[in-house]
Each structure stands twice: as structure tokens, then as C-alpha cells.
Amino acid sequence: MPIDGIFNTTIDLLGKNIDLRVKNQNLISSNIANAETPNYVPKSLAFEDELQGALKGGHKGTPSVTDPRHIPLKGTKDRLQSVTGRVLETPAETPGKDGNAVELENEMTKMSENQIMYNASVQILSKKFAGIRAAISGGSGGN
């Protein structure tokens, strides 16, 4: 069994997802910090579709793999690594008198959502490693 079979794309995908969630968290904290700054427009990171595209192949003009006998021009691993996400401006529909377009409730919701998704990815990644560990130790639960 090749080593790629053990450390398959799931681990790369989860790692990248965790990475991008941290970047999104940075932007959300920036929005919360500037909730009272005049003329500030909140931003957020959109990466879900790009990540999905990288996983499926065919993203950004790379030929997609539609048959197991195809040789991919660029591996899924490289494609996953190259995902950076897009920074979008997400202004509130009704900015305040000072031009500030942050809605604190919205940002707090986005933050907890981001946190839950992050924790979920970490949890799955831990289980993934635990599964590999169990396989190595023959399922005896030994160290």
C-alpha cells in the first residue's frame, strides 16, 4: 500500500481548511475591532467553492480527471495547496451615518460559525490520525 494511500487527500484538505479558517478568523477580528471606525467596510474570506474545485479538479483551467487511468497534470495535493481564497467586501445593507458598514451581530455569528467549522476540521483530523495509529498498533490501543 503506497504511503499516499494512508495520508490521502482528506488530510491535506482538512489541513488547508484549518489554514483558511484561521485567515478568515483574522478578517472577522479585524471587522469586530473596527465596528466603531468611520467608513470601514467589513471583509471576509470566501474559499469553499475554490477548495471544492481544487478537490474535484478542473479548477482554473487545469484538466479534470474523469477517468482513473488519466494522469493528472497537477496533483490534487498541489491544487489544494494553491487555494488562497478571495477576500470579499461584505458591507451591511444599511451603513450607519459615519459610513461604517459593520453589523456586530453578523460578525459574531460569522465568528462562531467559523470557529465551529474549524473545530470540526480539527476533530476529524485528530480522528483520522487516531485511526492510522490504531492501524499501526494493530487495533490493540497500545502506544
Binding site: Q25, I32, A35, K43, S126
Partner: protein, 146 residues
């Protein structure tokens, strides 16, 4: 490390909100002060916030596009409210003018209380953001720790 960017941004907001809270306390404490070193009644003070990029070190310049959009908040200046003072008729007051009117500070106590609640809530939101970033960093340490 990325988490520290997030925490630094929130910390900058905590410090800015605290500055604003100090100014609100000062405004409330001096809501009836008629004498100041500059002469005349006390004038209401307010902080001006500005979003500034986090690019104070070489390391941060090299960071990728997502990090370039992070803005921390800074108190750029403290302004004095230039609205006219409240005039109250009180001829017995030592600071009354020739017509018997005393110039009282242009501080509206109700407005200051509303600002205070606003500041408190913003402060709390930033504390929550710091806790979230800390929780995420701690969670990352759990990967592969059984």
C-alpha cells in the same frame, strides 16, 4: 503566527475602546464644570478611530494577500465638541456673565450614557474574539494528541 495577528487586532480595539471609555468618564465627571485651565466651561471630548494596516514589521509585509486586508484600530486624535455651551440663568453663580447666565459644558448626560453602553458592548465583542482565537489555537494543539 496567524493567531497572534488576530489577537493583536482585537487588542488594538480593546485599547481604543478603553481610551473612549476614559473620555466618556471624563465627560460625565465634568458635566457641570464651569472652570478649566483653558478658560471657560468644559468641552465634551470624543475619540476619532481610524483603521490602520498591520504592517509594522518586515515579516508582516511578506505575508500573503489575506493578511494584507487585516486592519487594526487606532485612536487618531481626541477632538473637542465645538457645539455652544448650555446657558443657564443663575445670577448668583460666580461664573455668571453680565446678563446672569452661566455657561455650562456642552455635555449631554443621556448621550454619554448611550455611548458608554456602546463602548462596553464593543469591548465585550473584542474580548469574545480574543477568546475565540485562543480557543482555536488551543484546539490545534489537540491534533494527534490521542
Amino acid at each position: 503566527m496567524d493567531f497572534f495577528n488576530s489577537m493583536n487586532v482585537s487588542a488594538s480595539a480593546l485599547s481604543a475602546e478603553r481610551t473612549r471609555m476614559n473620555l466618556i468618564s471624563s465627560n460625565l465627571a465634568n458635566a457641570n464644570t464651569t472652570r478649566t485651565p483653558e478658560g471657560g466651561a468644559y468641552k465634551r471630548k470624543d475619540a476619532v478611530f481610524a483603521a490602520t494596516p498591520m504592517r509594522d514589521s518586515f515579516d508582516k509585509v511578506l505575508n500573503n494577500a489575506a493578511n494584507r486586508d487585516i486592519r487594526q484600530v487606532k485612536v487618531m486624535q481626541v477632538i473637542e465638541d465645538q457645539n455652544p455651551p448650555r446657558l443657564q440663568y443663575d445670577p448668583s453663580h460666580p461664573d455668571a456673565n453680565a446678563q446672569g447666565y452661566v455657561a455650562l459644558p456642552n455635555v449631554n448626560v443621556v448621550e454619554e450614557m448611550a455611548d458608554m453602553i456602546n463602548t462596553t458592548r464593543s469591548y465585550e465583542a473584542n474580548v469574545t474574539a480574543i477568546q475565540a482565537a485562543k480557543g482555536m489555537a488551543m484546539k490545534a494543539l489537540e491534533i494527534s494528541s490521542k
